[in-house]
Symmetry: C2
Subunit: 205 residues, 2 copies
Amino acid sequence: MLSSFLEIIVVYVKREQSDENREALLATASRLFRERGIDGVGVAEIAREAGLTHGALYAHFRSKDDLATEAFSQGLALSREAFRGKAARRKHSVSGYLDYLLSPLRRDQPGVGCPMTASASEIGRHGKGISARFAKGFQDKASAFETVLDEAIPGDERRRLAMTIVAAEIGAMAVARAVAKSDPSLSDEILKAVKAVLLKASETA
Amino acid sequence: MLSSFLEIIVVYVKREQSDENREALLATASRLFRERGIDGVGVAEIAREAGLTHGALYAHFRSKDDLATEAFSQGLALSREAFRGKAARRKHSVSGYLDYLLSPLRRDQPGVGCPMTASASEIGRHGKGISARFAKGFQDKASAFETVLDEAIPGDERRRLAMTIVAAEIGAMAVARAVAKSDPSLSDEILKAVKAVLLKASETA
């Protein structure tokens, strides 16, 4: 009786530990992929940074592609939560959303920002799984913008506008990061210009 | 007399061969980096595909970063030429430029398209040299749009609009490629939506 009770506890503790290891691997992978690119970091390094062995990683994920897909998905969920929390505090508006998404602070911290923005041009080279997560993330973000665009704008146009704002925001942030090392003032200028133009487009639509 | 004449020929032939090798390395690297990402392909493979040895590559380029910078620069120059050639045949206009830049054909052939678009989110992780080439490429493309925007738009606004169009085009193409494997119709929809919105923004500015 006591021994089977202890067995249950051991199984429970092991499962808890296993869940924690999985979470640690996902969080580490998600940050490193955003900071250094999916092809820029190997599984051995991810396991090491998460304080685990290479073997432990493969107990949780079939392949690097599988890990990248799950890490991307987890990063998206956290990024969506952060966006909704912060954007909500700044009031829901196109301007409030863009202030948050196109800030220099966000540009300088790719490891904690949106994984779509961090890895935009890389995803097309990976599997169908990560492509599907990206598509979902893109649709979610576009829907968030649709809800804050002027209701007087016809539905079709509102959707086109929302998709354009998200694509432009992703592009602007990638470009701002790309030029930041050589021309920081151009980088700032791009963020401001894109914000101003998108805001105007959303008002004159 | 004859021997020194032959010596000159040998030097000349060797130099020609060396220039050709360099060109082959740049063309191969430029295509592979666009297709598979800068971190997705190694120097050994680039040398092999160019029909040369690893050592021959290092005779021309100090490091992978040096090769990536030069290849990026060469890809930009070819892409700019192609853009001007094709865009010119379709008449110089925002609409003509966007038709060319945001076509599904271009989405499906990253290896021959614009290296800024192919590698947007990767450049920020690399050196200052490639960042400077990106900044120049971005400014050149924005200037091309500035020249076709309505002259009635004030200069400041024209510049902001041109920068936004280029950032949005880069973002739209990255996103369209990212979702293409899982949702081809969303991918097409994004290209069309971004084109329509940018065109309208450039007309109502």
